[in-house]
């Protein structure tokens, strides 16, 4: 990763133009060329330095539903329950965390009704109570990952 890669990461987390030649327009601001910018983005995607490049959608405003959920999984059942929870396509990510509530996952569905239904299915399938932590307010965070 060189100086230009860093500038791309720091300055292009938002504001990519909507225009006929957006890479050319963005490249000008970054002090590089259109083709170089495209190459850099492709390389950083291939290397895994970038997870994605493109529009970042707001799930709820698209009509979908999203929630953070937690389970208290008995340690001896952890792997089995992880496998069951992960088998639901509605589970977008799932993390083991150091706490009595030790499994935290994000559910994403196309409608709020599907979210409730999936929650109940996970409870049935695991025999555990799902603690639902839906977002009540979202506070603005800047584009703050700087390298």
């Amino acid at each position: 990763m060189d100086e230009l890669d860093r500038r791309i990461i720091n300055q292009l987390q938002g504001g990519f133009p909507v225009s006929e030649r957006p890479y050319r327009d963005a490249a000008r601001r970054l002090g590089t060329s259109e083709s170089e910018l495209i190459t850099r983005i492709r390389c950083m995607l291939d290397d895994g330095l970038l997870t994605r490049f493109g529009p970042l959608f707001h799930a709820e405003r698209m009509g979908g539903a999203l929630s953070l959920c937690a389970l208290r999984v008995p340690p001896q059942r952890f792997e089995e329950v992880a496998e069951k929870v992960n088998s639901f396509p509605e589970v977008a990510h799932n993390y083991q965390r150091e706490h009595d509530m030790n499994m935290w996952f994000v559910l994403a569905t196309e409608t709020p009704e599907q979210l409730d239904a999936t929650l109940r299915q996970i409870e049935e399938c695991t025999g555990l109570t799902v603690h639902n932590f839906p977002k009540q307010a979202e506070y603005f965070v800047g584009l703050n990952l700087q390298v």
Binding site: F16, E34, L50, G54, F57, N94, W104, K135, V147
Partner: protein, 170 residues
């Protein structure tokens, strides 16, 4: 528009165009000099219409932003702690704004308490190069909040069990 037999058309906009645009771009924007023209060809509409719809989705917030999404782990931010705070309901809004504005915080939400075991109503994700750095950041948030926070905790992730990102069907 005679060929769009399966789509309703209103004001010249195929009814499900926005949805098809989401499907066509959720994996990423084409890495071609004219990415919106590329999408337009794929979707069988004009480039102007594609750009108009994307601008409309930016304006109403369905698209948060267009740009690169860095991979925290690969960039050295390997520790992530979910800090959780018990803030009185009448001030959680202003406190949330303040915490969200901090450089180390990448997500900041108000969520419900689950009493009696879970008194926390403000969740702030803190990233750092290691655990010590995350704990330092959490300590500085605690100092900033003073007695406005009645209690807090930080939950470190020990393992990613699944990470597929958000996708809609189709």
């Amino acid at each position: 528009m005679a060929d769009t037999d399966m789509h309703d058309v209103q004001d010249g906009i195929p009814a499900d165009l926005d949805r098809r645009l989401v499907l066509a771009t959720q994996a990423g924007l084409p890495l071609h000099a004219r990415p919106y023209h590329w999408l337009a060809m794929e979707l069988g509409v004009s480039p102007e219409l594609v750009m108009d719809r994307i601008r409309a989705m930016l304006d109403d917030g369905r698209i948060r932003r267009i740009g690169v999404l860095p991979n925290h782990y690969r960039l050295g931010y390997v520790a992530n702690g979910m800090s959780v705070w018990d803030i009185p309901d009448d001030i959680v809004g202003e406190v949330g704004e303040q915490v969200g504005a901090l450089k180390s915080v990448t997500h900041c939400y108000r969520r419900p308490r689950h009493l009696p075991d879970w008194p926390y109503n403000l969740f702030a994700m803190v990233h750092g190069r290691d655990r010590a750095q995350v704990l330092e950041e959490v300590a500085s948030i605690a100092a900033l909040l003073g007695d406005r926070a009645r209690a807090h905790d930080v939950l470190f992730s020990t393992r990613i069990l699944k990470k597929t990102g958000l996708r809609i069907g189709g």
